[in-house]
């Protein structure tokens, strides 16, 4: 900011004290390079390498497929998309760095990406500082309420409502919870506490049984691999059902060790995270068969859009048994949501696109009908409850159309109060 300098002496003192030049002329031009060109740069930040790439690789596949599909159909507003991807290498420090690069150097029209909540929160300030349109396309703990951010992943209430109702009906009222020890696990636990004790809703559900907790919730660091003591504590507590918010490669061992202790048929498991990192493919069917999860997308879903997506992805990956997964499908959906916003707005600029998306865009995706909620910038899904089958896949048990991200919607209204850049947590 080239402010008026009070006087020369003052300036010199400031400069001397600050150890350098503290004011810098705003000579650098800021002009989107896509104003005139035939292509539009768009950015994606996903972990192609490192520990998080079990989620990153499917998301990258979904991203590349969606952008190629849009370009094949003639691009957007007559321009081809130029996809710029940086590998964030599962290192959180890379997110703000590459976000700045995408914004300042590449001047992209939109950024998609971020996987862990930690990575998202690390560069959301950059997004806000530069008022950059950003899509977060993955399951998370809910509550992000930010004018510049759109979320196409599911949130706790979308998963936990159906799961809680199912578990209360089928298994019983006593639950034990294990969760990954970072903000996803902690915030998920807070929502789960509310949903479980209310019988499957944010407010007490009329006529439903009320859940209760046995034992103390256990937060497990992401690098723990030996769950012996945890499994013994679960046995001590004797729950009717076990809720798992475990995340990542190391935590996969939990399910195996749980089965090895002979508990698989004694204590059923429900989870909002299982399967998301392809756990059901890594593990043996007999170790986790019957585990119940709830997602908006399973490869097993049968509809025209999904059949087309599956065929196309298998061809692209050169693997006839390629598994798209929730992460892949949500990235795919995220790009299409953005494309629909751009088409409706007739512009790549942030404000018109935001307005268009806030008009309530709705379409038939491979997941089924999805709709962008204008006030919260979150997605309303058809949710599917499914159990792991004996062939390393899922059997869809039940579908629930039009499930809103209630916990975020009740707190966040970006139409009424647009100057919000925060993340709400349960009280």
């Amino acid at each position: 900011m080239a402010r008026q300098r009070p006087n020369r002496r003052d300036f010199l003192r400031t400069a001397a004290v600050a150890g350098g030049v503290s004011v810098f002329p705003a000579v650098l031009r800021h002009r989107p390079s896509w104003a005139a060109a035939n292509t539009v740069p768009v950015g994606s930040l996903l972990d192609k390498t490192g520990g998080i790439n079990i989620y990153g690789l499917p998301a990258i596949a979904g991203t590349e497929y969606a952008v190629a599909e849009i370009n094949a159909k003639g691009g957007l507003l007559g321009k081809q998309l130029e996809l710029i991807q940086y590998d964030t290498q599962s290192d959180i420090a890379n997110f703000p760095k590459f976000a700045k690069k995408l914004i300042l150097e590449d001047q992209v029209a939109v950024i998609h990406g971020g996987i862990t909540s930690a990575s998202r929160e690390s560069f959301r300030p950059v997004i806000d500082e530069y008022k950059q349109l950003y899509f977060y396309n993955i399951i998370y703990e809910g509550g992000v309420c930010d004018k510049y951010v759109f979320v196409t992943g599911e949130t706790p209430s979308q998963q936990m409502g159906p799961l809680a109702k199912y578990a209360l009906k089928k298994y019983g009222t006593k639950a034990y919870t294990v969760a990954a020890d970072y903000n996803f696990g902690h915030i998920s636990w807070k929502w789960w506490d509310i949903f479980w004790r209310n019988g499957g809703g944010l407010e007490p559900v009329a006529g439903a049984k009320r859940g209760q907790h046995v034992g103390k919730v256990e937060f497990i660091p992401l690098d723990v691999t030996d769950f012996n003591a945890t499994i013994n504590r679960i046995q001590e507590a004797k729950p009717d059902v076990l809720m798992s918010f475990l995340v990542g490669g190391a935590h996969i061992n939990f399910y195996r060790q749980f089965a090895a202790a002979g508990l698989k048929n004694k204590i059923p498991i429900i989870s909002t995270t299982f399967g998301f990192g392809n756990e059901h493919i890594v593990l043996d069917a007999k170790e986790v068969e019957g585990l119940v999860a709830c997602y908006p997308y399973f490869d097993e879903l049968d509809n025209a859009q999904n059949r087309a997506l599956k065929a196309g992805m298998k061809k692209k990956m050169g693997n006839p048994s390629y598994y798209i997964g929730d992460a892949g499908a949500e990235s795919y959906n995220g790009w299409h949501f953005w494309a629909k916003g751009v088409q409706k707005a007739g512009s790549f600029e942030r404000e018109p696109v935001t307005k268009a998306l806030e008009s309530g865009i709705e379409w038939d995706s491979p997941m089924g009908r999805v709709k962008m909620d204008p006030a919260s910038h979150h997605t309303i899904f058809t949710m599917h409850l499914a159990a792991v089958n004996s062939k390393r896949g899922w059997n869809v048990l039940e579908s629930f159309p039009n499930i809103p991200p209630t916990e975020t919607m009740q707190l966040c209204d970006l139409i009424k109060n647009p100057n919000q850049h925060t993340q709400y947590q349960p009280k």
Binding site: T49, E121, Q423
Partner: protein
């Protein structure tokens, strides 16, 4: 007192002039990245100081870096809204890092733990801190309004604001008497103040450390590296010298950590992790531990290389009609490039130990010193012309090429 030689003046000019011009010559991203390289360079220099200086190989220099960053963050978050400055946080971060280094140093050197044992203890230290920091995700881990935040890193809690920026670690904010507005750490389109702060601190710390190495403390430290019993028999309490140098190095690492926290406005447990510890050692090893500049050179080379690899990772897909051998080779090549940062670091560690014991900086400097006439007449003008043109092109659209 030694006079500054012509070769030293030349290298200072060749290094400093471009660095000073960077915010004017490139888009702000370049200044952002260079600032991180300099911050990592400071950290690496602190390792070089005790490793090259006194022969103490500290795997856990990152512990002091992280502690500095966390302490700065915790104090800054608590005080910024009350006092509008971060002076206390800066002092607190420096004190925390120095104190931790002093405790560990006292424990090791007065306990006569040295050589590989010292390396393993410092490694254990940084891993303890990593395990600790990762496990503080719960709501109960809070210092005033600063949540430690576990795996996510530190953030503030409070009801007062709707803006995430107010929950973040504050940038370095200095408000000294006589200033009409505070100095704020920023590197963006409007201001490069943060960049110049990092550059200024790096140069200042480098100069001070260089003086330190040439002082009695530095001379005795080198003597200890060569032959500790001999130095003790000359009447020096070698434990104290190692302790003092270790503490100073810890404080420098803490300073780098604070700058890092202010740069990214966040700090997370990865700063204590083994991978970061490894890269710090790689920086020093590659740059050369005999030279204080080595850490900076190593950090810049590796930083640029990994960044480059992350950017050029071939995201291209293999054509479905390619033959099996082509597919195999392409897939193999793609996977190797994908893992390249790790492979490069590993190769540097093995290669430098086996082949290039002094790292790259001393040979580079020797070449420059030997051919300093060419340097004065060719290198310096070339640098001036290139950066002059960049500045003219960026600032006034006077691009010739």
């Amino acid at each position: 007192m030694r006079r500054v030689s012509s070769a030293e003046l030349l290298s200072a000019l060749v290094l400093l002039l471009p660095l000073l011009a960077v915010p004017w010559a490139f888009k702000p991203y370049t200044a952002n990245v260079l600032a991180v390289y300099m911050i990592y360079g400071l950290l690496a220099m602190s390792l070089g100081l005790i490793w090259g200086g006194a022969g103490i190989m500290s795997f856990g220099q990152t512990a002091f870096f992280g502690i500095g960053a966390y302490a700065y963050g915790a104090i800054g978050l608590n005080l910024i809204n009350r006092t509008q400055q971060t002076h206390t946080a800066l002092l607190g971060g420096l004190a925390a890092a120095a104190l931790l280094a002093a405790i560990v140093g006292y424990f090791m050197f007065y306990g006569r733990i040295s050589d590989v044992y010292a390396s393993i203890i410092t490694m254990a230290l940084t891993l303890v801190l990593f395990a600790f920091a990762v496990s503080t995700g719960g709501d109960e881990w809070v210092i005033g309004v600063a949540r430690l935040g576990g795996f996510n890193g530190m953030f503030g809690q409070g009801e007062s604001s709707q803006n995430i920026a107010n929950f973040q670690i504050p940038p370095v904010t200095l408000w000294l008497p006589g200033m009409t507005e505070p100095f704020a750490f920023k590197i963006n389109r409007e201001s490069a103040a943060g960049y110049y702060l990092v550059l200024g601190v790096s140069v200042a710390v480098y100069v001070l450390t260089r003086a330190l190495v040439r002082s009695r403390l530095g001379r005795v430290a080198v003597a200890i590296r060569e032959n500790e019993p001999r130095v003790a028999s000359l009447g020096y309490d070698t434990r104290f010298y190692k302790f003092a140098l270790f503490t100073i190095a810890g404080a420098i690492a803490g300073l780098a950590g604070m700058l890092f926290a202010a740069w990214g406005r966040f700090v997370n447990p990865d700063r204590f992790g083994l991978a970061f510890a490894a890269s710090t050692v790689v920086y020093v090893q590659l740059g050369g531990r005999a030279s204080l500049l080595g850490g900076f050179v190593g950090a810049a080379i590796i930083g640029h290389l990994t960044s480059y690899l992350a950017e050029v990772v071939p995201f291209a897909t293999i054509p479905p009609d390619a033959g099996p051998w082509i597919t195999f080779l392409m897939e193999a090549g793609r996977r190797i490039v994908r893992e390249a940062p790790l492979l490069v670091q590993g190769a540097v560690l093995v290669g430098v130990v086996l082949v290039l014991k002094d790292g790259v900086t001393p040979p580079l400097f020797r070449v420059l010193a030997r051919h300093r006439r060419w340097g004065w007449w060719l290198l310096l003008p070339a640098v001036l012309v290139y950066f002059g043109h960049r500045v003219a092109c960026q600032q006034a659209d006077l691009c010739v090429f």
